[in-house]
């Protein structure tokens, strides 16, 4: 991961190695908690990866809503004089619950689980998962890949024709 300066300072990149490590940690959480779905995203709602058995969840939409949900509570926490953001959010449903927690300030983990699974267990295993994820993210800070390396000349050259193809009506 590399938080780049410039723009609004919110961009980051994820290497192949780091992606594998994150996925492994989330798989571990999925098997321990039996959660339906565990989704890792950045704080702006870009989905990173998902684990679990639910395949019918629209991941980009879920992460966009979760990021909005979280961002709204950050503003609320400021209004009541909190200096730190709220660490987690919990939504209780009839059949399904959603637990959201921030990870290293710039990421989110979303856990979707059946109501017969104890919240306490979700919280304990999620806390351990977050500790592991934060270590991976900390190590990855040393990586130096820039987003401009991804957008090379060929990419810029072919972008125009792909846009024309997609937007051709």
């Amino acid at each position: 991961m590399n938080a780049e300066k410039g723009g609004n300072g919110q961009s980051f990149t994820l290497s192949g190695e780091m992606y594998k490590d994150v996925a492994e940690v989330l798989s571990d959480l999925a098997s321990k908690t039996r959660a339906k779905s565990i989704i890792f995203a950045d704080i702006n709602g870009h989905p990173i990866t998902q684990r679990g058995r639910a395949s019918d969840i629209d991941i980009p939409n879920m992460t966009a809503l979760a990021a909005g949900d979280f961002a709204a509570t950050v503003e609320m926490s400021k209004m009541v004089g909190e200096t730190q953001r709220f660490k987690y959010l919990y939504h209780e449903g009839e059949k399904t619950n959603i637990y959201l927690s921030s990870v290293a300030d710039n990421f989110l983990v979303i856990i979707i689980f059946d109501t017969d699974i104890a919240l306490g267990m979700i919280r304990i295993y999620t806390k351990r998962t977050i500790d592991r994820l934060e270590k991976i993210l900390e190590l990855a800070k040393a990586e130096t890949k820039q987003s401009s390396e991804f957008i090379d000349l060929k990419f810029t050259k072919y972008l125009d024709q792909e846009l024309d193809k997609a937007f051709d009506f």
């Binding site: 410039g6 723009g7 609004n8 300072g9 919110q10 961009s11 980051f12 990149t13 994820l14 290497s15 192949g16 992606y19 594998k20 950045d42 704080i43 702006n44 709602g45 870009h46 989905p47 990173i48 629209d58 980009p60 939409n61 966009a64 809503l65 909005g68 961002a71 709204a72 950050v74 503003e75 890949k145 987003s147 401009s148 991804f150 957008i151 090379d152 060929k154 990419f155 810029t156 072919y158 972008l159 125009d160 792909e162 846009l163 024309d164 193809k165 997609a166 937007f167 009506f169």
Partner: protein, 194 residues
């Protein structure tokens, strides 16, 4: 922006900004309607009972592989009403580019300008500004009789000379050219930041 080298994916955030009822949601609805479903996700709208945007609208779009790489664009709108200033700030966070949807009607020029200044203030808060950030202008509602001339709109709103487009969003006029230009600007900005 988020880049996943393992999956060769780049995720970019595009925000439609502008005063209330200028046509931000209408842009997204048209894009959703026209694009092949394989290229876009479902459109989420978080609206009030009166169908005004309460928090944001969201839709993801893909344009296929480019040289083996997959760009994904996350399109958001902000609520235009003055009352939802905090929500606009939230949605703007992490944006990579902005379409400013202005209402062309003469009586709404001041509201456009107020919203543009609101955008500038919010950009400054996240460490950038209208000069440094990729954005384009869309003059919407060109079909209305009270629409101001392009000359007047340019003088009032386009003082930085950004790319501008005339549109009638509900008919789709100008919707895709605006988005295409913004995407090109975002990519150029990543290669060579202002």
């Amino acid at each position: 922006m988020y880049i996943n080298w393992a999956l060769n994916e780049i995720n970019l955030k595009v925000v439609y900004y502008g005063p209330g009822l200028s046509g931000k949601t209408t842009n997204l609805i048209y894009i959703h309607k026209k694009l092949d479903p394989s290229l876009r996700g479902e459109l989420i709208t978080l609206s009030t009972k009166e169908d005004r945007t309460l928090f944001f609208d969201f839709m993801q779009l893909e344009i296929g592989k480019i040289n083996g790489k997959v760009p994904k664009f996350n399109l958001y709108t902000v609520p235009g009403q003055v009352y939802y200033a905090n929500s606009r700030k939230i949605i703007l966070n992490g944006a990579d580019g902005i379409v400013f949807v202005a209402d062309s009607q003469k009586e709404r020029i001041d509201e456009n300008l107020d919203t543009l200044l609101d955008l500038e203030n919010n950009l400054i808060e996240i460490g950038t500004s209208l000069e440094k950030f990729p954005w384009v202008l869309q003059y919407n509602k060109r079909d209305l009789p009270s629409a101001a001339s392009l000359d007047v709109l340019d003088k009032k709103l386009n003082f930085l000379g950004v790319p501008s487009f005339e549109s009638v969003a509900h008919k789709g006029v100008g919707v895709f050219p605006t988005l295409k230009e913004l995407i090109k600007n975002i990519i150029a900005h990543i290669r060579v930041p202002a």
